[in-house]
Amino acid sequence: MKPYLREKIPTSFEDIPDTTSYEAGYLVTKNAGWRNVRPVIDTASCVGCLNCYLYCPDGVISPKDGKVQIDYDFCKGCGICRKICRPGAIRMEAEK
């Protein structure tokens, strides 16, 4: 489980809580629009060391089948993963 996108945006008078407390991990917006560049993984060169997963400030890289995958909904394109990747399996591509 991790915070995830919901369909309902509870901002009407009826929908907001009576107190300043609400369900943990409730997301209504993505961060994808922040990016100018996106990390792209070359799965063939990836050795599965998981350093990119560990050092991602946004936690958008996750282990998958001995390699990694990226959640582009929330990646901000900072590029830390590319720098930390010893085999050079991550490249940054311009967003169109």
Binding site: P3, T11, F74, G77, C78, G79, I80, R82
Partner: protein
């Protein structure tokens, strides 16, 4: 088994937040929560991490979390742990994440009180060396020479004139059960320390250096490198305090270049060779002290 990239809890607890790209503070919070797990109850004061994580209805903590007053991280943590304890609940980790200003300036009194009472809390200071949330103003953890918006660098004054306050040793002087320094450049070390703190009852304090690309004037992909380099050049050190004594965890065989570390950051770009000589001198004095007093 040691916590590392392969063994760490795969759950993400701090996700979808609006921190700047490459934020070191958010990396520290994310990793600490993964080590602490779902029973972490996080208290974050007004500051970067609360500003980017709690904008209703975008709520970015998967675990229990609350914003405290700026000065009230430690005191609210005290209440959280006391409130749970009084209800017979013990399987939780009350953890605070406060910045350098929230810790070493406005929150110091409450932190000192919590350590004095030995409340069962883990206090993590993510130190990005200035009030970043309000736009890069000097805190007492801003290093000598750094340009901030309240310590502008001009002809007369070259940025901040004061040395960085030594929070680690201030906290240790309370006789705290466990304190440590860390850096987001050395996450294995940090994870080990959080894991250790998790198993200790009483007050724990971890001070993690967490570069801020926005405030330091580095590229968004240089956060981790800068956090490594500051340790490698000796301007920061990885250590622990436990059972009344200090232990150095990592001793660089040879310091990397201080100039190189400083020159990469626009907050230090104005420094003269004399300024850098002062920084090196104070580094050397510190290491002399460390070698004498740390195991």
């Amino acid at each position: 088994m040691a916590v590392n990239a392969k063994t760490i809890n795969e759950t993400e607890f701090f996700y979808g937040h609006k921190a700047c790209a490459g934020c070191g503070g958010s990396l520290a919070v994310r990793i600490a929560l993964k080590v602490l797990g779902e029973n972490a109850i996080a208290v974050l004061p007004a500051g970067c991490m609360s500003a980017v994580g709690f904008n209703y209805p975008q709520l970015c903590f998967g675990n229990n979390a609350i914003i405290s007053t700026f000065a009230g991280t430690a005191s609210m943590l005290t209440g959280v742990q006391a409130g749970l304890k009084a209800q017979g609940i013990t399987d939780f980790h009350a953890v605070g994440f406060a910045g350098d200003g929230g810790t070493a300036d406005i929150g110091l009194q409450a932190l000192s009180g919590a350590i004095d009472r030995n409340d069962d809390i883990l206090y993590i200071c993510y130190d990005n060396e200035a009030y970043m949330n309000t736009g890069i103003q000097k805190s007492s953890l801003t290093p000598f020479g750094a340009r901030t918006t309240t310590t502008p660098a001009g002809k007369n004054i070259h940025g901040n004139l004061r040395q960085k306050k030594n929070m680690f040793e201030i906290v240790a002087a309370h006789g705290i059960p466990y304190a440590a320094t860390a850096s987001v450049g050395y996450l294995n070390d940090f994870m080990r320390k959080v894991e250790k703190a998790k198993s200790i009852r009483g007050t724990k304090y971890i001070h993690i250096l967490a570069p801020c690309p926005t405030g330091w004037g580095i590229k968004t992909d240089e956060t981790v490198e800068a956090a490594k380099e500051v340790v490698d050049c000796g301007l920061w050190y990885l250590a622990e305090y436990e059972n009344g004594s200090f232990t150095l965890n990592h001793e660089p065989k040879q310091f990397s270049s201080v100039e190189s570390y400083l020159r990469k950051q626009s907050r230090f770009r104005h420094l003269t060779d004399e300024d850098i000589a002062i920084i090196k001198q104070s580094r050397d004095a510190k290491w002399e002290y460390i070698k004498k007093n740390f195991k």
